[in-house]
Amino acid sequence: MELKFYIESGIIESYVLGLASETEVEELEHMRKLFPELDTEVELAERRLERACFDEAVLPPMEIRERVLQKVRWEYAGAQADAQSNYTFINIQPKDGSYISVHRWWKIFFIILFILSKIFLFFAILYYLKYRQEKERQEQHPAAITFIHEQKANIFYI
């Protein structure tokens, strides 16, 4: 019963608003240890005040959000860089998605690929020419045979 009286005195609200004196805060902390159910009461009081203040919310100017979060982003970027090395990495590339950065080995890879493709092209042309030459040579012999066949056919028709 006494606990109820203590709660109803508004001491919790006074504590939550930050109006309670040091002695009152110490007293409340002591009471919370003795009666853990007081924690629930504290939470209820905090939630009520929270709901009240949310009904009164006023959106701060956008520039404040930027000021608060820019610091966060900088600190985060700084922490990331520190974790990797002892210098700060500044990326001045435009982050619009039209640029990529790759490892330098890719350059050598592409040069080799280019040279190899030229060699293959050279051999492809060379062997194609050789093949054509060979084919032309072959066609001269079968041409005679075809001629005989045609003559035979003509005789058959006559």
């Binding site: 109803e8 005195s9 508004g10 001491i11 919790i12 609200e13 006074s14 504590y15 939550v16 608003l17 930050g18 109006l19 004196s21 805060v25 902390e29 919370r32 924690d39 504290v42 939470e43 009081a45 905090e46 939630r47 009520r48 005040l49 929270e50 709901r51 009240a52 203040c53 949310f54 009904d55 009164e56 919310a57 006023v58 959106l59 701060p60 100017p61 520039e63 404040i64 959000r65 000021r67 608060v68 979060l69 610091k71 966060v72 982003r73 985060y76 922490a79």
Partner: protein, 170 residues
């Protein structure tokens, strides 16, 4: 990544903040800045100063999130509110030094609504205590009253405040 965090519980948010997750910091701001700004505007009538309070509160919160559990508060909002009021009172300057144009105090805020229903003596003590952040000793000296009496008056005001909150936001 941010979108995933928007609806996380308070508990999860605190854990993420403790890990220094920048997305969690953004969520904290988006969730509480509006409600806190409303409170600040009732205490600090100058816009630039009210803005500074918000920036300072969040910078403090990001750094001291680990102290939340030992603070005695059960909710993030109450924990932030306490610091907000502390910083706002430091930023507030005597109203006599203001010109009319700088004033943007909201007259219909919940604390003003509550304040109006109090008897005159309680109004005065509550105003000096909450809006000005003065200690009981200072208020007693200002009003030429014994400290015990000031304490009693403030106690009555807090009882009424509890009733007021329970009636409207239970």
């Amino acid at each position: 990544m941010r979108r995933d965090l928007t609806h996380i519980s308070e508990q999860m948010l605190i854990e993420r903040l403790a890990l220094g997750d920048p997305a969690a910091k953004e969520v904290l701001y988006d969730r509480y800045a509006g409600a806190l700004y409303g409170v600040v505007l009732q205490l600090v009538p100058i816009k630039d100063r009210a803005n500074d309070v918000i920036v300072k509160v969040f910078a403090w919160a990001f750094q001291h999130i680990n102290a939340f559990y030992s603070s005695g508060f059960r909710t993030l909002f109450a924990w932030l509110l306490r610091k907000t009021r502390e910083l706002a009172i430091k930023e507030a300057i005597p109203e006599t030094a203001l010109t009319g144009t700088e004033l943007m105090k909201k007259e219909e805020g919940i604390l003003q609504q509550f304040y109006i229903i109090l008897p005159a003596s309680e109004q005065q003590v509550f105003r000096l205590s909450y809006f000005k952040g003065l200690s009981i000793t200072t208020i007693a000296r200002m009003l030429a009253m014994p400290e015990g009496q000031v304490n009693e008056i403030l106690g009555e005001a807090m009882k009424a405040f509890r009733k007021f909150l329970k009636e409207h936001w239970n």
